[in-house]
Symmetry: C2
Subunit: 119 residues, 2 copies
């Protein structure tokens, strides 16, 4: 057992939209991801996802509205719900989601990251 | 879907060692707990637990050592591992653990909180 320092982890990588595994518990991974710009509309058939913002501003778009997630805030996206993460500036997000979760959910394209690094 | 502001949630209660449910995803709860002083040695037979410190300092004692968890850091305690959370000053912790998790694990005593409030 050891403590994991979030800001130190974020300072160890610079690529966007490429989640890194920080730890695992039960059937889930804790991941760190830097985001900037717009991702891709997708949903997850079976997995709920938690997005905790540690820096910046996440605009989580849903088909009918947008939820602003600021530093020190989280949002939970239930399975089956289409969403589009957007960040106008670089934003740091801690993800918590089942190990089976693919970043692009039901979509497979050039944004899909199937193999995640551990940092 | 809505965003949850951690510091606002922490300012809404003042009791120690009484986790509040902030949200749920998959089979887990996200909880907020204020701690101060020493808890009770316990383990969880089946549940891994994540402790993320948002304020203060958590000293997580294990039988063979102690892990310091500072603001912006987390520690994961695997199931089966005896642990004793200690905080010399008021410390704010976000917990992530399966819904089945009892705060005192294998121990049932006056510190056990079986029914958790949602805030």
């Amino acid at each position: 057992m050891h403590s994991v320092n979030l800001s130190r982890k974020f300072s160890s990588f610079s690529d966007y939209w490429s989640p890194k595994i920080l730890g695992e518990l039960n059937d889930s991974y804790v991941k760190a991801v830097k985001i900037k710009g717009e991702f891709v509309w997708h949903h997850h058939d079976n997995e709920d996802e938690l997005f905790l913002v540690t820096k910046g501003l996440l605009r989580m778009k849903f088909r009918d509205r947008e939820v602003l997630v600021r530093e020190g805030e989280f949002v939970i996206v239930p399975h089956g719900v289409e969403h589009l993460p957007v960040a106008d500036e670089e934003t740091h997000v801690i993800l918590l989601e089942p190990k089976s979760t693919l970043n692009t959910g039901n979509i497979q394209n050039e944004r899909t990251v199937a193999q995640l690094d551990r940092i």
